[in-house]
C-alpha cells in the first residue's frame, strides 16, 4: 500500500499538499496510508477527504481511498490555443486565460468583439512591445527641467499655444488605443501589450507637454472647435483597422514630422528635449499601425478601399470646419522664427511650409507601404485633416 508520511505537519498547516500529491500519483481506488504525529491527523483527514469525495478509514493509521470525483473538474477542459502562436479565432469560452492554458469547462463566455487574428495581429507585436518597454523614460529625470528657458514673451506664448494643441491631440491618441485594447481578446496578448504601452507613452507625452506649457504660465492656451472636431472623428471611428489607419498611419505619421520640426526649431532646450523623446515613441506607434495594417490588407483585399473611403468620409465631415487653427499655425511660425524680426518670421514661415511638405511626403510614403499607388497616395494625403492628427 502507498504511504505518505506527514511528519509532525498538521492538515491545518498545509499537510494536505502532501496528501494531495500522494493521491495524484495513485490510481483510482487505491488506498493511501497517511502517517504522522499530529494528534488531530485522523480527525482532520476524515473531514478533508469527505469534502473532496475521497473514501476514508480511521485506522490507525488512517487511510484515504482515492476516487475520481475531484478529477471530474477537468473533464471537458480545453486548451486556450497554443502558447507560441495565437489561433485564427480566439474563443469566448477561454475568457482571460493565458494563451495555451487549460481552461475548465463551463466558463461563462466572455465576449471580446475583436477576436479574429487577421483583424488585429502582426508578427512584429512582440518585438515592438519589447522595444517600447526598453525605451520607457521617466519625465522627471529624462528632461533637464532646470535648463535655462528665458524667451521673449511672445515666443513663450507661442510655445504654450503649441503645447496646448499637442496635449489635446495626445489625449485622443491615448483614448483610442485604450478603448480598442479593452475590446481585443486577451488571447492576442502582444497586441494588448503594445496598445497598453502606447497608452502609457501618450500619458507621458501629456505629462511633459503640460509641464512645459505651465513652466512660465498659469494656464495653457486656446482650444478650438475646429481642432477638436477633427479629433472627434477619430474617437468616433468604431473599426479598429480604420481607426488605426487614420490615427497611427496618417495622424501620428504627420505628428512625427511636427515633433521633429519642434525638436529642430524649438526655441528652448526643454521644448527640444521633450519633442525629441516624444518623436521616438511616436515612431513606434506608426510602425505598429503600419505593420498590422499591412498584414491585415494582405488578408482582406477590400481593406484598402475601406481605408480610402474612411479618408474621404472624414474629409467631407470636416470640410466645413476650420482645420488647423490660425493660433497654432502662427505660433509655429513665431516659435520657429524666435523673434519679431521680419527676416526671422520669413525663415519661420518657410520652415512651416517645409514642415507641411514633409508631412505630405511622409504620408505618401506610408500609403505606398500599405499598397496604394502613387496617384491614390497623393490624393488621400491631400485629403488628410488640416489639423495634422
Amino acid at each position: 500500500m502507498r504511504t505518505v508520511d506527514l511528519g509532525a505537519l498538521g492538515l491545518d498547516r498545509g499537510a494536505h499538499l502532501l496528501v494531495r500529491h500522494a493521491l495524484a500519483k495513485a490510481e483510482v481506488g487505491a488506498r493511501v496510508q497517511v502517517r504522522g504525529s499530529d494528534p488531530a491527523l485522523a480527525i482532520h483527514l476524515r473531514a478533508w477527504a469527505r469534502a473532496r469525495g475521497h473514501g476514508f478509514e480511521p485506522g490507525p493509521p488512517p487511510i484515504v481511498i482515492r476516487t475520481s470525483l475531484e478529477d471530474g473538474r477537468w473533464c471537458g477542459a480545453v486548451a486556450a490555443g497554443h502558447a507560441a502562436r495565437p489561433s485564427e479565432q480566439a474563443s469566448a469560452s477561454w475568457g482571460l486565460a493565458a494563451r495555451g492554458a487549460r481552461v475548465e469547462a463551463g466558463l461563462v463566455p466572455l465576449e471580446f468583439p475583436l477576436a479574429t487574428r487577421d483583424e488585429i495581429w502582426t508578427d512584429d507585436a512582440a518585438r515592438l512591445y519589447a522595444r517600447a518597454a526598453a525605451a520607457q523614460w521617466d519625465p522627471e529625470t529624462a528632461i533637464n527641467w532646470a535648463a535655462s528657458c528665458e524667451l521673449p514673451d511672445a515666443v513663450e506664448d507661442a510655445v504654450v499655444q503649441v503645447m496646448t494643441y499637442l496635449i489635446e491631440n495626445e489625449v485622443a491618441a491615448l483614448i483610442i488605443p485604450a478603448r480598442f485594447l479593452a475590446r481585443i481578446h486577451p488571447h492576442f496578448r502582444e497586441i494588448l501589450q503594445v496598445l497598453a504601452i502606447q497608452a502609457a507613452d501618450e500619458a507621458r507625452h501629456i505629462e511633459v507637454f503640460t509641464r512645459r506649457a505651465l513652466l512660465k504660465r498659469d494656464a495653457p492656451g486656446l482650444s478650438t472647435v475646429g481642432g477638436q472636431s477633427s479629433l472627434r472623428t477619430l474617437l468616433e471611428e468604431p473599426d479598429f483597422a480604420l481607426a488605426s489607419f487614420l490615427l497611427s498611419v496618417l495622424g501620428e505619421g504627420s505628428f512625427l514630422s511636427l515633433l521633429w520640426f519642434l525638436a529642430e526649431h524649438g526655441p528652448d532646450p526643454i521644448t527640444r528635449q521633450i519633442t525629441t523623446l516624444a518623436a521616438q515613441d511616436e515612431a513606434r506607434h506608426v510602425a505598429f499601425g503600419l505593420s498590422h495594417l499591412q498584414q491585415h490588407a494582405a488578408r482582406e483585399p477590400g481593406l484598402r478601399a475601406r481605408m480610402a473611403n474612411a479618408v474621404e468620409q472624414r474629409f467631407s465631415a470636416l470640410q466645413h470646419t476650420a482645420g488647423l487653427n490660425e493660433e497654432v499655425f502662427d505660433a509655429l511660425v513665431l516659435l520657429a522664427a524666435g523673434s519679431w524680426e521680419p527676416e526671422a518670421i520669413a525663415r519661420g514661415f518657410d520652415a512651416v511650409v517645409a514642415l507641411r511638405q514633409d508631412m505630405d511626403r511622409g504620408r505618401r510614403t506610408r500609403l505606398a507601404r500599405l499598397g496604394f499607388d502613387a496617384e491614390a497616395a497623393e490624393r488621400l494625403s491631400s485629403l488628410h485633416t488640416r489639423n495634422f492628427m
Binding site: G10, A40, I43, A51, L69, G72, R73, E104, A105, G106
Partner: protein, 293 residues
C-alpha cells in the same frame, strides 16, 4: 393548501440560512426546467416552520437538517403519516464532532471535563450542541450536573447551519472564557487553518462516533413516479458536467447519494435524553391534527 402544488411538480422547502440559498435553488430550478421536471421552491426562516409547512402540503419535498428530519419522522409517527429520506449529499455522511480544550490546560480526557465549563453552538445545532451533549452524557457526563454549558444562540431555528455559533465557541476557548468547546471536525480543521484556533493551541479531548447530516425528506402521498424522477435526476448529476458543477460546489458536494437513515441514531438519542423537541412536537401534532380533520 395542498392544492397549491400542481400535479407533477416538486415544490421543495429549504431554510434560508444564507443568501446563497437563493442562488442554489434558482440554479436547480433552471436545471430541472431543462430536464422537463416541474420544480419550484419555498424558503423558510427556520426548520420548524418548514417541517410544519411540509405536513401542511405547502411543499412536497423538504431539504431538512438532521434535527428537522427527526422532527418530521416523529411528527409523522404522531399523526399517522410516514416520512422518508430520499437523497443526501456525499459530504453529509459520516461526520464527527470533537470536544477540544486548550493545550496545556491539563484537560486531556473526557473525564477531565468534570466540573468544567464547555462552550457549544446554538441549542438546536446537531453538530455543535445536541450530538456532543448526548455523547458526553453517554460517557457519563450529564450536562448541568457534571459540567457547565455555555451556548451561543446564533441563528436559532437554523439548526446550526450558520457557522457563527461554533466560531464563537472556538473564540471562547482561545480567550479562556471556557475550558472546552464543541464543534464539527471540519470546522476544527477550518478554524486551525484560518487562525481562529492558532496551530497547536488546542488538544482534542474526544471525538463522537460518526453521524449523518441533511437529507431530502418526503411524506407518504407524494406521487411515486414524480419522486422517482426527482431522485434519479439528482443521483444522475455529475461533477463532470460543467452546467451542474457550479451548483454542486455551491451546495458543497461531489455527488448525491440515496437517502439513508442509519446515521441519525446519535442525534435521536441526544434529543430523547434532552427532550429537545418535545414541546414543539406537542404543538405541531395538535396543529397537524387540526389541519387534517
Amino acid at each position: 393548501m395542498r392544492d397549491q402544488i400542481k400535479p407533477n411538480q416538486i415544490v421543495l422547502g429549504a431554510v434560508a440560512y444564507d443568501p446563497k440559498v437563493v442562488t442554489i435553488w434558482e440554479g436547480f430550478k433552471a436545471y430541472f426546467a431543462d430536464q422537463d421536471l416541474g420544480f419550484d421552491y419555498v424558503l423558510f426562516s427556520n426548520y420548524e416552520r418548514q417541517v410544519q409547512a411540509h405536513f401542511d402540503g405547502v411543499c412536497n419535498v423538504a431539504w431538512n437538517s438532521p434535527l428537522a428530519w427527526l422532527e418530521a419522522e416523529r411528527l409523522a409517527a404522531r399523526v399517522g403519516r410516514k416520512a422518508r429520506a430520499v437523497a443526501m449529499r456525499d459530504t453529509d455522511c459520516d461526520l464527527t464532532s470533537v470536544v477540544v480544550a486548550r493545550a496545556g490546560s491539563g484537560i486531556e480526557r473526557v473525564e477531565d471535563l468534570r466540573g468544567k465549563t464547555i462552550a457549544f453552538g446554538a441549542s438546536d445545532s446537531p453538530q455543535a450542541t445536541l450530538i456532543p451533549l448526548g455523547w458526553l452524557a453517554s460517557q457519563g457526563l450529564e450536562p448541568g450536573r457534571d459540567f457547565n454549558v455555555v451556548k451561543h444562540e446564533i441563528a436559532v431555528g437554523m439548526h446550526g447551519d450558520h457557522v457563527g455559533g461554533e466560531r464563537h465557541a472556538a473564540r471562547d476557548l482561545v480567550e479562556a472564557r471556557v475550558d472546552a468547546a464543541a464543534m464539527i471536525d471540519a470546522n476544527h480543521l477550518a478554524f486551525g487553518a484560518d487562525g481562529t484556533l492558532p496551530t497547536g493551541s488546542t488538544v482534542i479531548v474526544g471525538q463522537t462516533p460518526t453521524y449523518d447530516h441533511c437529507n431530502f425528506t418526503v411524506l407518504d402521498g407524494i406521487d411515486a413516479a414524480l419522486l422517482d424522477r426527482f431522485v434519479n435526476l439528482l443521483l444522475g448529476q455529475s461533477f463532470e458536467d460543467p452546467l451542474v458543477r457550479p451548483l454542486l460546489e455551491l451546495e458543497g458536494l461531489k455527488k448525491w447519494l440515496p437517502g439513508r437513515t442509519s446515521g441519525y441514531a446519535l442525534l435521536d438519542d441526544a434529543i430523547t435524553r434532552l427532550g429537545t423537541i418535545n414541546a414543539w412536537l406537542d404543538t405541531a401534532s395538535a396543529n397537524s391534527d387540526g389541519q387534517s380533520s
